[in-house]
């Protein structure tokens, strides 16, 4: 179960309110009428399907009804960040190693999916108390 921070509502909400909508930052061919079959097929069907850091679009379906983006690890299911449409991700596959863990996200070390905002990681709870 994900606990997802909606950047528009400015709140954490449960996964049930959201709908995943596939890979983010896809670029539609600028001139569809003159694009090749490869370009158009690539845009419609071919995906990175990344095992690891994955940028994806979500819809806050029963909330604000807005699309936003999320950076998430598709193997551990850790959510690194959510950000508004039009913004660029601050976490990428290149810089994920030196990421300072944001409070309230699923921790990679917790082993199983954490339900709720408090990850089972002591360091994060300490940070919260300070």
């Amino acid at each position: 179960m994900f606990h997802i921070y909606c950047p528009y509502c400015d709140e954490y909400r449960e996964e049930e309110e959201f709908h995943p909508s596939g890979q983010a930052h896809l670029r539609r061919p600028a001139d569809p009428a003159n694009s090749t079959d490869d370009e158009w097929g690539g845009y419609l069907f071919f995906r990175d399907n990344e095992r690891g850091v994955h940028h994806e679009m979500w819809l806050h379906a029963v909330g604000c009804r807005k699309f936003f983006n999320m950076t998430r690890n598709s193997a551990t299911y850790e959510i690194y960040e959510t950000y508004k449409m039009g913004e660029r991700p601050s976490v990428t596959a290149e810089n994920v190693g030196d990421l300072k863990r944001q409070s309230g996200v699923q921790a990679e070390t917790s082993g199983w999916q954490t339900v709720g905002a408090r990850p089972e990681s002591e360091s994060l709870n300490e940070e919260e108390q300070a």
Partner: protein, 416 residues
């Protein structure tokens, strides 16, 4: 390989079943093979078996990073049917169904294939129209099928709630009597044992870490147990196909999703067929052991975690209890997830790739188990002849650029 028989069973009973021979060897990798198959699940093992049996190519290695049949082969709901709408898909799944019907004898291994019939329920007028269209298409393609009304369904499954009071009343169903279930582990083990007996090397705990590619041609793989060479490489890695494609330097039109299933505590026999409903989205059968085997939908996000969301479990059980109020107090024993590689058109990819000598068999999504023998059979022919088998040809990767999709979404009663 000693053949299994009733007589052998009695003989081994005399020695307290302590002297059965190992079902397959655990060989050291050779430096070179004619064909390498990446992925030791049902489809990969079936491919190796048919390569050896039909094409006489026995210098084959199956490379598996875990253990044989430990991925989706061991994680599905074991349903076998062939009532697909489009000619291309029906041809393939019916090809597979015919192999299923003789598989236990062919492999000398009891895969417990039980043709107990499969019902695909219709809950709306549109469902019923689609069912009629599909059954008619099936019959034209030589696939058995019948359209049943609510009473016909009730006669087959007395415990199904077919009353008008249901939230989504059952209006009828398509019925494929030749469909059924099989023992999933036995399928992998049977193919493994038969392939091994013909000289195929099954390399477990061996992970492919890269491909040796020169001038656009593959000539081997890197593994954690050293390099292995082969001029032909077939990748059958289900959810991890995209990871292999990335190593080889191209993309696939796939997304990997978690798909869950669950089983209940064992019950006395209560359900002797397979019931699937797309509309309320759940499917259920009862295993020989007595537990209800229940299938769920995929989680919509990309995930390689072999586990899914609790919400999906909840929605699935709502659907099951909606159909079978009698199950409302059954307790669930276990729940698990597999990683399925879904294609945009819900049909598989059996295809050559931009790298010469490298072939992919993937994209089976939520419905690959039923195709295990057929997929192995046509993929083996594709690898042996270096060109697509006629049944495999429409499932080329090119279709995503030409637009000739085999759009089986929903149309085939594909319960995802």
């Amino acid at each position: 390989m000693k053949r299994y028989s009733g007589f052998g069973l009695v003989k081994h009973a005399m020695s307290h079943h302590e002297n059965w021979e190992r079902q397959w060897r655990n060989p050291t990798p050779k430096k070179q093979y004619d064909v390498i198959i990446v992925g030791g699940g049902g489809h990969g093992l079936a491919t190796a078996y048919y390569l050896a049996k039909e094409h006489g190519i026995t210098n084959v290695a199956v490379i598996e990073k875990g253990w044989l049949g430990g991925g989706n082969t061991a994680r599905n709901t074991t349903i076998v049917r062939s009532n697909y709408l489009w000619d291309e898909a029906a041809a393939m799944f019916e090809h597979s169904m015919k192999l299923w019907e003789g598989l236990s004898q062919d492999l000398n291994y009891n895969v417990m294939f039980s043709q107990r019939g499969v019902l695909n329920l219709g809950h709306t007028l549109q469902d019923m129209r689609d069912i009629q269209r599909r059954v008619n298409a099936n019959r034209l393609n030589g696939v058995d099928g019948e359209v049943l009304d609510a009473k016909g369904v009730q006669d087959i499954v007395p415990i199904l709630d077919c009353s008008k009071n249901a939230r989504y009343p059952v209006m009828g169903a398509s019925w494929q009597p030749r469909g059924g279930v099989a023992r999933h582990d036995a399928v992998a083990w049977g193919f493994a044992r038969a392939a091994d007996a013909m000289g195929v090397d099954l390399l477990q705990n061996t992970e492919v870490t890269g491909f040796k590619i020169r001038d656009g041609r593959v000539y081997g793989v890197h593994t954690n147990r050293g390099d292995i060479e082969a001029k032909t490489v077939g990748c059958v890695a289900a959810g991890n196909s995209g990871v292999l494609a990335k190593m080889a330097g191209f993309k696939l039109p796939l997304e990997s999703h978690p798909l869950q299933a669950l089983v209940s505590e064992p019950l006395k026999p209560v359900l002797d067929t397979v019931v699937m409903s797309n509309h309320v989205h759940g499917y259920v059968s009862q295993s020989d052991k007595g537990d209800l085997v229940i299938g769920a939908g995929i989680d919509g996000y990309v995930g390689y975690g072999q586990r899914g969301s609790y919400t999906t479990v909840e929605h699935t059980l709502q659907a099951i209890v909606e159909m079978f109020p009698i199950f409302s107090r059954v307790r669930m024993n276990r729940q698990w997830g597999g990683v399925v590689d879904t294609c945009p058109d819900a049909s598989p990819i059996i295809s050559a790739t931009p790298v010469k000598g490298m072939f992919f068999n993937c994209g089976w999504g939520t419905g690959g188990f039923k195709a295990t023998p057929g997929s192995g059979h046509i993929f083996a022919a594709t690898l042996a002849k270096n060109e697509a088998h006629p049944i495999a040809a429409p499932f080329s990767i090119d279709r995503f650029n030409t637009g000739a999709l085999v759009d089986e979404h929903g149309a085939a009663g594909v319960a995802h």
